[in-house]
């Protein structure tokens, strides 16, 4: 009887363990194996052990430095835009008003949009000839002639950043709003009695209360932005001349277009190493697991 009880949790967990081991663990192991082989779909008869060749190719790839810098810009600016705007949205939504439910339903909608739709829509908004953004900027006299946003090495990455920021604002809004609503009203009242002004209340009461949520949300979001490749694939496909590629979209292109699976997998292994470091930092910063243990 006791033995059966001990087995129970494992019976419940079996489906999740199985799925993740077979369909995630096994492919990841394969990814490592591929990273050390010379694997091109176009030359299947010629698959050989390659040692560190793929990794060497990455470090010798002239585009990698620029793409790494792009990735950095892409993550930082998208995250900053999402965080700041999401925060403002959450603050404005904090107190109830008539129609708040409907308002939230509309404003949170972009979260349910696919990268494909978002990419498509923004590509069309930024269109060089018939897009409204060029038209509006021109009419307000902010530019003197229409700009080919997606076709310019200077602007292409920024159009992608704006599109992804747009899609991600609701996520931050949702998380921060929930955190704000969980702040103990008694604490705020006590601060009022102690004579704290609005700014002091915000800085010394609200912020410390929502800090744990904020950190978890930011850290998870950072990695999701890093991983995002579909909006870039649709809007610019990395162009012009790789100037709007990030590491994730570059990896997809390497696998899908050039069919160099070895190279793509080597990039993937580097991702894994980076992720392990990031997760260690995450656990340390958020003190994840400590409450559960």
């Amino acid at each position: 009887m006791n033995k059966k009880k001990k087995l129970e949790p494992h019976i419940f967990m079996t489906p999740s363990y199985l799925i993740l081991l077979v369909f995630l663990g096994y492919p990841l192991l394969n990814c490592i194996r591929l990273a050390f082989s010379n694997y091109k779909i176009t030359q299947l008869n010629n698959v050989t052990f390659a040692g560190f060749d793929n990794f060497l190719k990455i470090f010798q790839d002239k585009e990698i430095a620029m793409i790494s810098l792009n990735t950095f810009k892409f993550v930082i600016f998208t995250l900053a835009l999402q965080l700041v705007l999401g925060f403002i949205l959450a603050m404005a939504l904090k107190r109830p008003f008539r129609g708040r439910g409907i308002y939230q339903g509309i404003v949170f909608l972009p979260w349910a949009f696919s990268g494909f739709i978002v990419g498509l829509t923004f590509q069309w908004l930024f269109n060089a000839e018939y897009g409204p953004i060029n038209d509006i900027l021109l009419k307000f006299g902010l530019i003197s002639e229409k700009i080919s946003f997606l076709g310019s090495p200077k602007y292409a990455l920024w159009t992608v950043i704006i599109a992804l920021a747009w899609q991600g604002i609701p996520f931050f809004g949702i998380m921060i709003l929930a955190a704000l609503q969980s702040v103990d009203a008694g604490l705020v009242e006590a601060a009022v009695i102690d004579g704290a002004n609005a700014f002091q209340r915000f800085w010394h009461v609200t912020i410390p209360c929502i800090k744990p949520t904020l950190i978890v949300t930011i850290m998870l979001r950072t990695i999701w932005i890093f991983n995002n490749a579909d909006i870039i694939y649709i809007m610019t496909n990395g162009g012009p001349a790789n100037t709007s590629h990030t590491l994730a979209s570059y990896m997809f292109t390497k696998a899908y277009s050039t069919l160099d699976f070895g190279y793509a997998s080597a990039l993937g292994v580097l991702f894994m190493v980076g992720m392990i470091i990031y997760v260690c930092a995450f656990v340390k910063v958020t003190k994840y697991n400590q409450e559960d243990a």
Binding site: S16, M175, S182, A248, F271, E291
Partner: protein
């Protein structure tokens, strides 16, 4: 007193402006897509840009529905998303129950494992999965997509489901088992009905995840009749000139199911998303 009143009024106006700003930002792209889908080709390709369709027409929608493989894409997307949702739901219910109701060795590691798997980029597993699916003759099938989407959505959904289970007092179960219910009966007859909102939220979450994926489909699917909506529609994007009217019509049609589902169960999805991160 009057100074206090003006301050309050200013704050209120500021708040309304902020809320209006966000409404505008969110609606503008959707509005632009919608009116483009209702314009004639001539009205789209004109330098005198129309912010209201001069000659509104449903021609683009008719073309998309009748002259393309849209209906096949739609059918594939529905099949893939519904099946993914059902499988994920089963795994999430069992896993979520196990995590919320038992203490056992390795639980902390498991939770961390679910967190880490949410961070793995999909592009990372596409290449090895592609090769594995081809080696077992599952290349270019909807099954391969379903497997991919299940794997991607399981970690988050198990954690979310665990949160929903944790909200139900264990006393409910104990009372039922004293009354002679077996474990299976307790779960199916007592616990799951109470959890209906959570169950719907998890299903919708997995459904939307599968519905929205693009790159997995691009990588795995070759044949025209196996393409899902984003994959099928995106194959027109790269071509020399895009027919924006039809693209936007197709996009709007693809958007409707996931947007409707989201609006209907938004409350519960938000609850599920936030319960993990906000410890309130």
């Amino acid at each position: 007193m009057s100074k206090y009143k003006t301050k309050r009024r200013l704050l209120l106006i500021g708040r309304i402006l902020i809320l209006a700003f966000f409404l505008f930002i969110v609606c503008l792209p959707i509005y632009w897509m919608l009116i483009t889908s209702l314009k004639t080709t001539a009205d789209i390709n004109t330098l005198d840009i129309q912010y209201w369709p001069a000659n509104p027409t449903f021609q683009n929608y008719e073309n998309v529905l009748q002259q393309s493989n849209f209906i096949y894409y739609l059918k594939n997307s529905v099949v893939v998303s519904v099946v993914t949702g059902i499988i994920v739901l089963f795994v999430a219910i069992t896993g979520g129950y196990g995590l919320s109701r038992y203490k056992y060795r390795g639980k902390g590691v498991t939770m961390l494992g679910f967190l880490v798997t949410q961070m793995i980029p999909m592009t990372l597993i596409l290449v090895p999965m592609f090769l594995i699916f081809h080696s077992v003759n599952l290349g270019d099938t909807l099954t391969s997509l379903i497997i991919l989407y299940v794997v991607i959505n399981v970690p988050f959904c198990v954690i979310t489901m665990q949160g929903f289970f944790a909200n139900i007092p264990i006393a409910v179960e104990e009372a039922a088992s004293i009354d002679g219910c077996s474990k299976f009966q307790v779960i199916t007859k007592i616990v799951l009905p109470i959890m209906l909102p959570g169950i719907i939220a998890v299903f919708v979450f997995a459904f939307i995840g599968a519905w929205n994926d693009l790159l997995g489909g691009v990588m795995f699917i070759n044949s025209e009749l196996n393409k899902t909506l984003p994959v099928g529609l995106s194959s027109y994007v790269g071509q020399f000139s895009i027919n924006w009217g039809e693209m936007c019509a197709g996009g709007m049609l693809a958007l409707i199911p996931s947007a409707l589902l989201f609006v209907m169960v938004q409350k519960y999805i938000v609850e599920g998303m936030t319960s993990g991160a906000v410890k309130g």
